[in-house]
Protein backbone atom coordinates (compact mmCIF):
# COMPACT_ATOMS: atom_id res chain seq x y z
CA UNK A 1 0.00 0.00 0.00
CA UNK A 2 1.63 3.16 -1.19
CA UNK A 3 1.02 6.28 0.90
CA UNK A 4 -0.28 9.33 -0.95
CA UNK A 5 2.34 11.88 -1.96
CA UNK A 6 1.60 15.48 -2.78
CA UNK A 7 4.26 15.58 -5.49
CA UNK A 8 4.29 13.54 -8.64
CA UNK A 9 6.89 10.79 -9.16
CA UNK A 10 9.01 12.79 -11.56
CA UNK A 11 8.68 16.21 -9.94
CA UNK A 12 12.16 16.29 -8.37
CA UNK A 13 13.85 15.21 -11.61
CA UNK A 14 11.96 17.82 -13.64
CA UNK A 15 12.75 20.57 -11.11
CA UNK A 16 16.38 19.58 -11.01
CA UNK A 17 16.63 19.59 -14.80
CA UNK A 18 14.98 23.03 -14.88
CA UNK A 19 17.37 24.30 -12.18
CA UNK A 20 20.40 23.10 -14.16
CA UNK A 21 19.00 24.65 -17.34
CA UNK A 22 18.34 27.88 -15.41
CA UNK A 23 21.92 27.96 -14.08
CA UNK A 24 23.27 27.37 -17.58
CA UNK A 25 21.13 30.16 -19.07
CA UNK A 26 22.07 32.51 -16.22
CA UNK A 27 25.73 31.63 -16.80
CA UNK A 28 25.47 32.41 -20.49
CA UNK A 29 23.68 35.72 -19.80
CA UNK A 30 26.22 36.62 -17.11
CA UNK A 31 29.04 35.87 -19.51
CA UNK A 32 27.47 38.18 -22.11
CA UNK A 33 27.22 40.92 -19.48
CA UNK A 34 30.76 40.49 -18.16
CA UNK A 35 32.62 40.03 -21.45
CA UNK A 36 34.83 43.02 -22.18
CA UNK A 37 33.74 45.13 -25.15
CA UNK A 38 35.35 44.13 -28.41
CA UNK A 39 36.19 40.59 -27.29
CA UNK A 40 35.64 38.04 -30.03
CA UNK A 41 35.69 40.44 -32.98
CA UNK A 42 39.10 39.07 -34.04
CA UNK A 43 39.24 35.62 -32.54
CA UNK A 44 40.51 35.67 -28.97
CA UNK A 45 42.26 38.98 -29.54
CA UNK A 46 40.67 42.05 -27.96
CA UNK A 47 41.50 45.24 -29.88
CA UNK A 48 41.16 47.41 -26.74
CA UNK A 49 43.97 45.51 -25.00
CA UNK A 50 46.68 47.67 -26.59
CA UNK A 51 45.05 50.86 -25.41
CA UNK A 52 44.66 49.44 -21.90
CA UNK A 53 48.35 48.60 -21.82
CA UNK A 54 49.29 52.06 -23.10
CA UNK A 55 47.22 53.65 -20.35
CA UNK A 56 48.85 51.76 -17.52
CA UNK A 57 50.55 53.93 -14.92
CA UNK A 58 54.28 54.24 -15.43
CA UNK A 59 55.94 52.75 -12.35
CA UNK A 60 59.60 53.36 -13.07
CA UNK A 61 61.62 56.58 -12.95
CA UNK A 62 65.02 57.46 -14.36
CA UNK A 63 68.13 57.92 -12.17
CA UNK A 64 68.05 61.68 -12.67
CA UNK A 65 64.70 61.86 -10.91
CA UNK A 66 66.09 60.03 -7.88
CA UNK A 67 69.39 61.87 -7.71
CA UNK A 68 67.70 65.27 -7.97
CA UNK A 69 66.52 64.91 -4.36
CA UNK A 70 69.51 62.98 -2.99
CA UNK A 71 72.62 65.13 -3.56
CA UNK A 72 74.95 63.13 -1.29
CA UNK A 73 74.04 59.86 -2.94
CA UNK A 74 74.39 61.60 -6.31
CA UNK A 75 77.96 62.57 -5.53
CA UNK A 76 78.88 59.08 -4.35
CA UNK A 77 76.95 57.16 -6.98
CA UNK A 78 78.15 59.05 -10.02
CA UNK A 79 81.79 58.89 -8.92
CA UNK A 80 81.75 55.13 -8.31
CA UNK A 81 81.84 52.09 -10.57
CA UNK A 82 78.08 51.74 -10.10
CA UNK A 83 77.47 55.11 -11.82
CA UNK A 84 75.46 53.55 -14.64
CA UNK A 85 73.48 51.15 -12.46
CA UNK A 86 69.80 52.09 -12.20
CA UNK A 87 68.62 53.03 -8.70
CA UNK A 88 65.53 50.84 -9.15
CA UNK A 89 67.51 47.66 -9.69
CA UNK A 90 68.14 47.57 -5.95
CA UNK A 91 65.45 49.88 -4.56
CA UNK A 92 62.39 48.83 -6.55
CA UNK A 93 59.97 50.99 -8.56
CA UNK A 94 60.25 54.72 -7.97
CA UNK A 95 56.50 55.23 -7.94
CA UNK A 96 56.34 53.45 -4.57
CA UNK A 97 58.50 56.25 -3.18
CA UNK A 98 57.43 59.38 -5.04
CA UNK A 99 54.12 60.19 -6.69
CA UNK A 100 53.27 63.56 -8.23
CA UNK A 101 56.44 65.01 -6.74
CA UNK A 102 55.45 64.02 -3.20
CA UNK A 103 56.72 61.36 -0.86
CA UNK A 104 54.47 58.32 -1.19
CA UNK A 105 56.30 55.77 0.94
CA UNK A 106 59.65 54.70 2.30
CA UNK A 107 62.07 53.39 -0.32
CA UNK A 108 63.22 49.87 0.46
CA UNK A 109 66.94 49.62 1.10
CA UNK A 110 68.88 46.40 0.75
CA UNK A 111 71.46 45.86 3.45
CA UNK A 112 72.89 43.25 5.78
CA UNK A 113 72.24 39.56 5.31
CA UNK A 114 69.72 40.02 2.47
CA UNK A 115 72.14 41.92 0.27
CA UNK A 116 74.07 38.91 -1.05
CA UNK A 117 71.53 37.61 -3.57
CA UNK A 118 70.99 41.16 -4.87
CA UNK A 119 74.70 41.73 -5.51
CA UNK A 120 75.08 38.26 -7.05
CA UNK A 121 72.38 38.97 -9.60
CA UNK A 122 75.10 40.78 -11.52
CA UNK A 123 78.31 39.65 -9.83
CA UNK A 124 77.62 35.95 -9.34
CA UNK A 125 80.30 33.88 -11.01
CA UNK A 126 78.08 30.82 -10.89
CA UNK A 127 75.33 32.32 -13.01
CA UNK A 128 77.55 34.37 -15.37
CA UNK A 129 74.68 36.56 -16.39
CA UNK A 130 76.93 39.50 -17.22
CA UNK A 131 79.98 39.76 -19.50
CA UNK A 132 83.13 38.87 -17.61
CA UNK A 133 85.25 41.67 -19.09
CA UNK A 134 83.09 44.56 -17.88
CA UNK A 135 81.71 43.39 -14.55
CA UNK A 136 83.68 41.84 -11.77
CA UNK A 137 82.47 38.28 -11.16
CA UNK A 138 82.87 36.66 -7.76
CA UNK A 139 82.13 33.32 -6.26
CA UNK A 140 80.86 34.46 -2.88
CA UNK A 141 82.62 31.96 -0.65
CA UNK A 142 85.92 32.05 -2.61
CA UNK A 143 85.85 35.83 -2.56
CA UNK A 144 85.42 35.98 1.19
CA UNK A 145 87.95 33.30 2.04
CA UNK A 146 90.36 34.73 -0.56
CA UNK A 147 90.30 38.04 1.30
CA UNK A 148 90.65 36.26 4.62
CA UNK A 149 87.45 37.58 6.09
CA UNK A 150 84.67 35.69 7.80
CA UNK A 151 82.69 33.44 5.43
CA UNK A 152 79.39 34.93 6.65
CA UNK A 153 80.39 38.53 6.02
CA UNK A 154 77.82 40.55 4.11
CA UNK A 155 78.87 42.36 0.92
CA UNK A 156 78.19 45.81 2.36
CA UNK A 157 80.58 45.26 5.24
CA UNK A 158 83.48 45.96 2.87
CA UNK A 159 81.79 47.59 -0.13
CA UNK A 160 79.79 50.80 -0.18
CA UNK A 161 76.85 49.87 -2.39
CA UNK A 162 76.91 53.13 -4.36
CA UNK A 163 80.71 53.32 -4.78
CA UNK A 164 81.81 49.71 -4.32
CA UNK A 165 85.57 50.31 -4.25
CA UNK A 166 85.56 53.56 -2.23
CA UNK A 167 86.20 52.01 1.19
CA UNK A 168 88.49 49.37 -0.26
CA UNK A 169 90.59 52.04 -1.99
CA UNK A 170 90.68 54.20 1.13
CA UNK A 171 91.71 51.21 3.26
CA UNK A 172 94.48 50.34 0.85
CA UNK A 173 95.76 53.90 0.89
CA UNK A 174 95.77 53.89 4.68
CA UNK A 175 97.82 50.71 5.00
CA UNK A 176 99.90 51.29 1.88
CA UNK A 177 98.64 48.31 -0.13
CA UNK A 178 98.61 48.76 -3.90
CA UNK A 179 98.03 45.41 -5.53
CA UNK A 180 94.73 43.63 -5.93
CA UNK A 181 95.18 40.51 -3.77
CA UNK A 182 93.04 38.25 -5.96
CA UNK A 183 94.99 39.15 -9.09
CA UNK A 184 92.27 41.16 -10.84
CA UNK A 185 92.77 44.43 -12.64
CA UNK A 186 93.15 47.54 -10.48
CA UNK A 187 89.83 49.15 -9.65
CA UNK A 188 89.41 52.86 -9.71
CA UNK A 189 86.70 53.80 -7.24
Amino acid sequence: MQPDFKSSTHLHVIRLALTIAGVLVAGILLRQALLPAGYGTSGRYRPGAELDEANRTVRNLANDACLACHPLIRKLHLAGTHATVSCEICHGPGVDHVQDGKLAGAMPTVAGDVIGPVCLRCHGQVARLRPLDSIRMVSASDHLTGHRVRADNDCDQCHHVHAPMKWVREAREMVGLAAEPEGGRPWTN
Partner: protein, 419 residues
Protein backbone atom coordinates in the same frame (compact mmCIF):
# COMPACT_ATOMS: atom_id res chain seq x y z
CA UNK B 1 76.87 25.58 -0.96
CA UNK B 2 77.46 29.31 -1.15
CA UNK B 3 76.40 30.60 2.21
CA UNK B 4 75.34 33.93 0.87
CA UNK B 5 72.46 32.47 -1.19
CA UNK B 6 70.92 30.75 1.78
CA UNK B 7 68.21 33.36 2.48
CA UNK B 8 65.27 31.90 0.53
CA UNK B 9 66.71 29.01 -1.37
CA UNK B 10 70.22 27.72 -1.56
CA UNK B 11 71.94 26.23 -4.53
CA UNK B 12 74.58 23.80 -5.65
CA UNK B 13 76.26 23.47 -9.04
CA UNK B 14 75.40 25.72 -11.97
CA UNK B 15 72.14 27.48 -11.18
CA UNK B 16 70.61 30.39 -13.06
CA UNK B 17 69.35 33.30 -10.94
CA UNK B 18 65.79 32.75 -12.19
CA UNK B 19 65.94 29.15 -10.96
CA UNK B 20 66.54 30.20 -7.36
CA UNK B 21 62.93 30.87 -6.48
CA UNK B 22 60.59 27.87 -6.39
CA UNK B 23 57.41 29.37 -7.82
CA UNK B 24 55.12 26.39 -7.31
CA UNK B 25 55.36 25.98 -3.56
CA UNK B 26 53.34 24.18 -0.92
CA UNK B 27 49.99 25.29 -2.36
CA UNK B 28 50.69 23.48 -5.62
CA UNK B 29 51.63 20.43 -3.56
CA UNK B 30 48.26 20.60 -1.82
CA UNK B 31 46.24 21.02 -5.00
CA UNK B 32 46.94 17.58 -6.52
CA UNK B 33 46.88 16.08 -3.04
CA UNK B 34 43.37 17.31 -2.22
CA UNK B 35 42.09 16.64 -5.75
CA UNK B 36 43.48 13.12 -5.50
CA UNK B 37 41.65 12.48 -2.25
CA UNK B 38 38.42 13.57 -3.97
CA UNK B 39 38.93 11.18 -6.87
CA UNK B 40 39.97 8.32 -4.60
CA UNK B 41 37.06 8.74 -2.20
CA UNK B 42 34.69 8.72 -5.16
CA UNK B 43 36.21 5.42 -6.29
CA UNK B 44 35.37 3.93 -2.85
CA UNK B 45 31.76 4.98 -3.30
CA UNK B 46 31.68 3.63 -6.85
CA UNK B 47 33.04 0.27 -5.75
CA UNK B 48 29.75 -0.11 -3.91
CA UNK B 49 27.36 1.75 -6.21
CA UNK B 50 28.71 0.46 -9.52
CA UNK B 51 30.76 -2.65 -8.79
CA UNK B 52 28.51 -3.78 -5.92
CA UNK B 53 31.22 -4.51 -3.40
CA UNK B 54 28.63 -5.02 -0.67
CA UNK B 55 30.98 -4.91 2.27
CA UNK B 56 31.79 -1.27 1.52
CA UNK B 57 28.17 -0.27 2.18
CA UNK B 58 28.94 1.41 5.55
CA UNK B 59 31.26 3.93 3.85
CA UNK B 60 29.54 4.21 0.45
CA UNK B 61 27.51 7.32 1.33
CA UNK B 62 30.13 8.73 3.65
CA UNK B 63 32.83 8.59 1.01
CA UNK B 64 30.68 10.75 -1.27
CA UNK B 65 30.29 13.41 1.43
CA UNK B 66 34.00 13.04 2.17
CA UNK B 67 34.75 13.58 -1.52
CA UNK B 68 32.45 16.64 -1.61
CA UNK B 69 34.12 18.16 1.47
CA UNK B 70 37.52 17.89 -0.17
CA UNK B 71 36.19 18.93 -3.58
CA UNK B 72 34.88 22.20 -2.12
CA UNK B 73 38.41 22.98 -0.92
CA UNK B 74 40.36 21.57 -3.88
CA UNK B 75 40.55 24.84 -5.79
CA UNK B 76 41.46 26.89 -2.71
CA UNK B 77 45.24 26.30 -2.84
CA UNK B 78 45.20 27.33 -6.50
CA UNK B 79 43.30 30.53 -5.72
CA UNK B 80 45.72 31.36 -2.89
CA UNK B 81 48.63 30.70 -5.22
CA UNK B 82 47.16 32.81 -8.03
CA UNK B 83 47.26 35.97 -5.98
CA UNK B 84 44.44 37.39 -8.09
CA UNK B 85 41.77 34.74 -7.56
CA UNK B 86 39.18 36.68 -9.57
CA UNK B 87 41.10 35.81 -12.70
CA UNK B 88 40.12 32.16 -12.26
CA UNK B 89 36.71 33.12 -13.66
CA UNK B 90 38.31 34.20 -16.93
CA UNK B 91 38.41 30.58 -18.05
CA UNK B 92 34.62 30.65 -18.16
CA UNK B 93 34.29 34.16 -19.57
CA UNK B 94 36.83 33.70 -22.35
CA UNK B 95 37.27 29.96 -22.64
CA UNK B 96 40.36 28.65 -24.35
CA UNK B 97 40.02 24.97 -25.25
CA UNK B 98 43.73 24.60 -25.93
CA UNK B 99 44.74 25.74 -22.45
CA UNK B 100 45.83 22.79 -20.33
CA UNK B 101 45.54 24.85 -17.16
CA UNK B 102 41.97 25.99 -17.90
CA UNK B 103 41.05 22.35 -18.44
CA UNK B 104 41.05 21.83 -14.70
CA UNK B 105 38.34 24.47 -14.27
CA UNK B 106 36.02 22.71 -16.71
CA UNK B 107 36.63 19.19 -15.35
CA UNK B 108 36.39 20.39 -11.78
CA UNK B 109 33.06 22.14 -12.33
CA UNK B 110 31.55 19.19 -14.23
CA UNK B 111 32.74 16.78 -11.58
CA UNK B 112 31.40 18.94 -8.76
CA UNK B 113 27.99 19.05 -10.47
CA UNK B 114 27.98 15.28 -10.87
CA UNK B 115 28.98 14.71 -7.25
CA UNK B 116 26.28 17.05 -5.91
CA UNK B 117 23.67 15.39 -8.13
CA UNK B 118 24.66 11.92 -6.97
CA UNK B 119 24.54 12.99 -3.33
CA UNK B 120 21.13 14.55 -3.95
CA UNK B 121 19.65 11.36 -5.38
CA UNK B 122 21.20 9.17 -2.69
CA UNK B 123 20.08 11.38 0.17
CA UNK B 124 16.69 12.42 -1.22
CA UNK B 125 14.69 10.12 1.09
CA UNK B 126 16.59 11.54 4.07
CA UNK B 127 15.93 15.10 2.90
CA UNK B 128 12.20 14.43 2.49
CA UNK B 129 11.86 12.69 5.86
CA UNK B 130 13.81 15.38 7.67
CA UNK B 131 11.68 18.04 6.03
CA UNK B 132 8.50 16.33 7.17
CA UNK B 133 9.80 15.93 10.71
CA UNK B 134 11.00 19.55 11.00
CA UNK B 135 9.27 22.87 11.46
CA UNK B 136 9.99 26.50 10.59
CA UNK B 137 13.26 27.41 8.93
CA UNK B 138 14.64 23.91 9.13
CA UNK B 139 11.61 22.60 7.26
CA UNK B 140 12.07 25.23 4.58
CA UNK B 141 15.79 24.43 4.34
CA UNK B 142 15.26 20.71 3.80
CA UNK B 143 12.32 21.48 1.50
CA UNK B 144 14.57 23.55 -0.74
CA UNK B 145 17.26 20.86 -0.66
CA UNK B 146 14.65 18.27 -1.69
CA UNK B 147 13.55 20.65 -4.50
CA UNK B 148 10.02 20.66 -3.06
CA UNK B 149 9.18 17.06 -3.83
CA UNK B 150 7.94 14.64 -1.16
CA UNK B 151 7.46 11.63 -3.41
CA UNK B 152 9.13 8.57 -1.93
CA UNK B 153 7.06 6.02 -3.81
CA UNK B 154 8.70 2.76 -4.83
CA UNK B 155 8.59 3.96 -8.44
CA UNK B 156 10.35 7.25 -7.62
CA UNK B 157 13.00 5.51 -5.49
CA UNK B 158 13.65 2.96 -8.23
CA UNK B 159 14.14 5.82 -10.67
CA UNK B 160 16.53 7.49 -8.19
CA UNK B 161 18.52 4.28 -7.95
CA UNK B 162 18.78 4.04 -11.71
CA UNK B 163 19.96 7.65 -11.90
CA UNK B 164 22.51 7.03 -9.11
CA UNK B 165 23.81 4.03 -11.05
CA UNK B 166 24.24 6.13 -14.18
CA UNK B 167 25.86 9.02 -12.28
CA UNK B 168 28.22 6.71 -10.39
CA UNK B 169 29.11 5.00 -13.66
CA UNK B 170 29.75 8.35 -15.32
CA UNK B 171 31.66 9.49 -12.24
CA UNK B 172 34.37 6.84 -12.58
CA UNK B 173 35.71 8.04 -15.95
CA UNK B 174 35.24 11.63 -14.77
CA UNK B 175 37.20 11.00 -11.57
CA UNK B 176 39.89 9.36 -13.70
CA UNK B 177 39.93 12.31 -16.10
CA UNK B 178 39.95 14.85 -13.25
CA UNK B 179 42.98 13.38 -11.60
CA UNK B 180 44.68 11.91 -14.63
CA UNK B 181 44.49 15.45 -15.93
CA UNK B 182 46.29 16.80 -12.85
CA UNK B 183 49.10 14.37 -13.65
CA UNK B 184 48.97 15.46 -17.27
CA UNK B 185 49.62 19.07 -16.25
CA UNK B 186 52.99 17.93 -14.90
CA UNK B 187 53.62 15.13 -17.38
CA UNK B 188 53.03 17.53 -20.28
CA UNK B 189 55.87 19.87 -19.33
CA UNK B 190 58.54 18.46 -21.59
CA UNK B 191 61.26 20.86 -20.45
CA UNK B 192 61.29 19.25 -17.01
CA UNK B 193 62.99 15.86 -16.95
CA UNK B 194 61.35 14.78 -13.69
CA UNK B 195 57.83 15.53 -14.93
CA UNK B 196 57.89 14.78 -18.62
CA UNK B 197 56.72 11.18 -18.76
CA UNK B 198 53.46 9.77 -20.13
CA UNK B 199 53.34 7.66 -16.96
CA UNK B 200 52.75 10.78 -14.87
CA UNK B 201 48.91 10.88 -15.29
CA UNK B 202 48.72 7.15 -14.53
CA UNK B 203 50.86 7.43 -11.41
CA UNK B 204 48.90 10.47 -10.24
CA UNK B 205 45.60 8.69 -10.81
CA UNK B 206 46.62 5.54 -8.97
CA UNK B 207 48.14 7.41 -6.07
CA UNK B 208 44.92 9.46 -5.96
CA UNK B 209 43.05 6.21 -5.38
CA UNK B 210 45.54 5.34 -2.63
CA UNK B 211 45.09 8.68 -0.85
CA UNK B 212 41.29 8.64 -1.28
CA UNK B 213 40.82 5.13 0.07
CA UNK B 214 43.29 5.77 2.89
CA UNK B 215 41.54 9.06 3.70
CA UNK B 216 38.14 7.37 3.89
CA UNK B 217 39.56 4.61 6.11
CA UNK B 218 41.17 7.09 8.50
CA UNK B 219 38.08 9.32 8.62
CA UNK B 220 35.82 6.29 9.10
CA UNK B 221 37.87 4.97 12.01
CA UNK B 222 38.33 8.37 13.66
CA UNK B 223 34.68 9.43 13.28
CA UNK B 224 33.48 6.05 14.52
CA UNK B 225 35.64 6.43 17.60
CA UNK B 226 34.44 9.98 18.16
CA UNK B 227 30.76 9.01 17.90
CA UNK B 228 31.20 5.90 20.02
CA UNK B 229 30.42 3.50 17.18
CA UNK B 230 32.28 0.36 16.28
CA UNK B 231 33.72 0.53 12.76
CA UNK B 232 32.53 -2.30 10.54
CA UNK B 233 35.52 -4.61 10.26
CA UNK B 234 34.47 -6.41 7.10
CA UNK B 235 34.15 -3.01 5.46
CA UNK B 236 37.55 -1.87 6.78
CA UNK B 237 39.14 -5.12 5.66
CA UNK B 238 37.80 -4.76 2.12
CA UNK B 239 38.89 -1.12 1.98
CA UNK B 240 42.35 -2.12 3.21
CA UNK B 241 42.61 -4.75 0.50
CA UNK B 242 41.75 -2.24 -2.18
CA UNK B 243 44.21 0.16 -0.60
CA UNK B 244 46.88 -2.53 -0.68
CA UNK B 245 46.18 -3.31 -4.34
CA UNK B 246 46.20 0.28 -5.51
CA UNK B 247 49.25 1.04 -3.36
CA UNK B 248 51.19 -1.91 -4.79
CA UNK B 249 50.51 -0.87 -8.38
CA UNK B 250 51.28 2.79 -7.63
CA UNK B 251 54.53 2.00 -5.89
CA UNK B 252 55.56 -0.45 -8.62
CA UNK B 253 54.95 2.18 -11.30
CA UNK B 254 56.80 4.86 -9.34
CA UNK B 255 59.81 2.61 -9.00
CA UNK B 256 59.64 1.29 -12.58
CA UNK B 257 59.59 4.83 -13.90
CA UNK B 258 62.81 5.69 -12.08
CA UNK B 259 64.56 2.41 -12.70
CA UNK B 260 63.77 2.30 -16.40
CA UNK B 261 65.20 5.81 -16.72
CA UNK B 262 68.28 4.62 -14.83
CA UNK B 263 68.68 1.42 -16.83
CA UNK B 264 68.22 3.18 -20.17
CA UNK B 265 70.53 5.94 -18.92
CA UNK B 266 68.27 8.42 -20.72
CA UNK B 267 69.63 11.81 -21.69
CA UNK B 268 68.05 13.20 -18.51
CA UNK B 269 69.30 10.55 -16.16
CA UNK B 270 72.37 12.44 -15.01
CA UNK B 271 70.17 15.36 -14.03
CA UNK B 272 67.57 13.14 -12.36
CA UNK B 273 70.23 11.23 -10.47
CA UNK B 274 71.80 14.39 -9.15
CA UNK B 275 68.32 15.46 -8.00
CA UNK B 276 67.23 12.18 -6.42
CA UNK B 277 70.56 11.65 -4.70
CA UNK B 278 70.92 15.37 -4.00
CA UNK B 279 68.25 17.67 -2.59
CA UNK B 280 65.51 15.01 -2.79
CA UNK B 281 67.44 12.20 -1.15
CA UNK B 282 65.74 12.39 2.24
CA UNK B 283 62.23 13.23 1.11
CA UNK B 284 62.29 10.67 -1.72
CA UNK B 285 64.43 7.68 -0.82
CA UNK B 286 64.25 7.85 2.95
CA UNK B 287 60.68 9.07 3.56
CA UNK B 288 58.60 8.38 0.47
CA UNK B 289 60.15 5.09 -0.64
CA UNK B 290 61.46 3.47 2.51
CA UNK B 291 59.47 4.67 5.49
CA UNK B 292 56.09 5.48 3.97
CA UNK B 293 55.93 2.91 1.13
CA UNK B 294 57.75 -0.22 2.20
CA UNK B 295 56.47 -0.23 5.78
CA UNK B 296 52.75 0.42 5.03
CA UNK B 297 52.86 -2.04 2.12
CA UNK B 298 54.20 -4.68 4.46
CA UNK B 299 51.57 -3.78 7.05
CA UNK B 300 48.75 -3.88 4.48
CA UNK B 301 50.00 -7.20 3.12
CA UNK B 302 50.14 -8.59 6.63
CA UNK B 303 46.63 -7.34 7.46
CA UNK B 304 45.22 -8.63 4.16
CA UNK B 305 46.83 -12.04 4.11
CA UNK B 306 47.09 -13.01 7.74
CA UNK B 307 44.42 -13.56 10.32
CA UNK B 308 45.08 -10.96 12.95
CA UNK B 309 43.46 -10.35 16.29
CA UNK B 310 40.93 -7.53 16.60
CA UNK B 311 43.32 -5.48 18.75
CA UNK B 312 46.18 -5.71 16.27
CA UNK B 313 43.80 -4.83 13.44
CA UNK B 314 42.45 -1.83 15.34
CA UNK B 315 45.96 -0.44 15.72
CA UNK B 316 47.58 -1.41 12.44
CA UNK B 317 44.72 -0.66 10.02
CA UNK B 318 44.52 3.10 10.70
CA UNK B 319 48.31 3.27 11.04
CA UNK B 320 48.82 1.79 7.58
CA UNK B 321 46.18 4.14 6.14
CA UNK B 322 47.79 7.22 7.73
CA UNK B 323 51.17 6.14 6.37
CA UNK B 324 49.66 5.70 2.89
CA UNK B 325 48.21 9.22 3.14
CA UNK B 326 51.64 10.57 4.05
CA UNK B 327 53.28 8.63 1.23
CA UNK B 328 51.01 10.28 -1.32
CA UNK B 329 51.67 13.69 0.20
CA UNK B 330 55.41 13.06 -0.05
CA UNK B 331 54.97 11.88 -3.63
CA UNK B 332 53.19 15.14 -4.50
CA UNK B 333 55.91 17.09 -2.72
CA UNK B 334 58.72 15.24 -4.48
CA UNK B 335 57.10 15.68 -7.89
CA UNK B 336 55.97 19.30 -7.58
CA UNK B 337 58.86 20.73 -5.57
CA UNK B 338 61.44 18.24 -6.84
CA UNK B 339 60.81 19.15 -10.46
CA UNK B 340 61.55 22.78 -9.71
CA UNK B 341 64.77 22.09 -7.84
CA UNK B 342 66.50 21.19 -11.10
CA UNK B 343 68.19 24.17 -12.68
CA UNK B 344 67.42 24.82 -16.34
CA UNK B 345 71.15 24.48 -16.79
CA UNK B 346 70.66 20.77 -16.01
CA UNK B 347 73.85 20.96 -13.99
CA UNK B 348 72.76 22.24 -10.64
CA UNK B 349 70.00 22.16 -8.09
CA UNK B 350 68.43 24.51 -5.57
CA UNK B 351 67.04 23.70 -2.14
CA UNK B 352 63.58 24.73 -0.96
CA UNK B 353 62.36 25.44 2.55
CA UNK B 354 58.76 26.66 2.89
CA UNK B 355 58.25 29.52 5.33
CA UNK B 356 55.84 29.15 8.23
CA UNK B 357 53.89 32.35 7.77
CA UNK B 358 54.25 32.97 4.03
CA UNK B 359 51.19 33.38 1.85
CA UNK B 360 52.00 29.91 0.59
CA UNK B 361 53.58 28.78 3.85
CA UNK B 362 53.13 25.89 6.22
CA UNK B 363 50.52 27.51 8.48
CA UNK B 364 48.10 28.38 5.70
CA UNK B 365 48.66 24.97 4.11
CA UNK B 366 47.71 23.29 7.38
CA UNK B 367 44.57 25.44 7.57
CA UNK B 368 43.59 24.53 4.00
CA UNK B 369 44.28 20.87 4.65
CA UNK B 370 42.08 20.94 7.76
CA UNK B 371 39.30 22.95 6.12
CA UNK B 372 37.69 19.88 4.46
CA UNK B 373 37.30 18.41 7.95
CA UNK B 374 35.30 21.49 8.96
CA UNK B 375 33.24 21.22 5.77
CA UNK B 376 32.63 17.55 6.50
CA UNK B 377 31.46 18.49 9.99
CA UNK B 378 29.03 20.97 8.42
CA UNK B 379 27.79 18.37 5.95
CA UNK B 380 27.38 15.94 8.84
CA UNK B 381 25.06 18.45 10.53
CA UNK B 382 22.84 18.53 7.45
CA UNK B 383 23.00 14.92 6.28
CA UNK B 384 23.68 11.64 8.11
CA UNK B 385 27.19 10.39 7.47
CA UNK B 386 26.26 6.73 7.95
CA UNK B 387 23.57 4.68 6.20
CA UNK B 388 22.00 3.24 9.36
CA UNK B 389 21.29 6.49 11.15
CA UNK B 390 17.71 5.42 11.77
CA UNK B 391 16.39 6.91 8.56
CA UNK B 392 15.60 5.61 5.13
CA UNK B 393 18.62 5.38 2.89
CA UNK B 394 18.86 4.57 -0.73
CA UNK B 395 19.12 0.89 0.14
CA UNK B 396 21.11 -1.78 -1.58
CA UNK B 397 22.02 -1.20 -5.20
CA UNK B 398 20.20 -3.10 -7.91
CA UNK B 399 21.86 -6.36 -8.74
CA UNK B 400 24.32 -5.89 -11.54
CA UNK B 401 26.34 -8.11 -13.77
CA UNK B 402 29.71 -7.02 -12.36
CA UNK B 403 30.96 -9.04 -9.50
CA UNK B 404 34.44 -8.67 -8.09
CA UNK B 405 36.05 -11.72 -6.62
CA UNK B 406 36.81 -9.71 -3.53
CA UNK B 407 33.10 -9.57 -2.76
CA UNK B 408 33.02 -13.31 -2.32
CA UNK B 409 36.27 -13.46 -0.42
CA UNK B 410 35.17 -10.71 1.90
CA UNK B 411 31.88 -12.46 2.52
CA UNK B 412 33.82 -15.54 3.50
CA UNK B 413 36.25 -13.63 5.64
CA UNK B 414 33.84 -11.48 7.52
CA UNK B 415 32.77 -12.94 10.77
CA UNK B 416 35.66 -15.35 10.99
CA UNK B 417 38.50 -13.31 12.36
CA UNK B 418 36.35 -10.62 13.80
CA UNK B 419 33.46 -12.58 15.21
Amino acid sequence: MPLILASAASAAGYVFPNDLHVYWGLMIVLYPYITGIVAGAFIVSSLYHVFHVQSLRPVAQFSLLFALAFLVCAALPLLVHLGQPGRALSMFLTPNPSSAMAGFGYFYLAYAALLVLEIFFIYRPVLVLRQQAATGGRRLFYGVLAVGSDNLSAEALAMDRRIVGVLAGLGIPMACVLHGYVGFIFGGIKANPLWATPLMPVIFLLSACVSGIAGVIVAYVVLSKMTGRQPDRACLRTALRFLWGFFLVTFALEMLEIFSQAYMATSHWQTLRSLLWGPLFNSYWVWQVTVFSVIPLALLGYLSLQRVSATVFRVLAPLAAVMALLQVFLMRWNVVIGGQLISRSGRGAVYYDPGWLDREGILLSAVILLLPVAVLYGLGRILPLWPDAGEVSEGAPATGSLNLSSVESVKQDSGEEFA
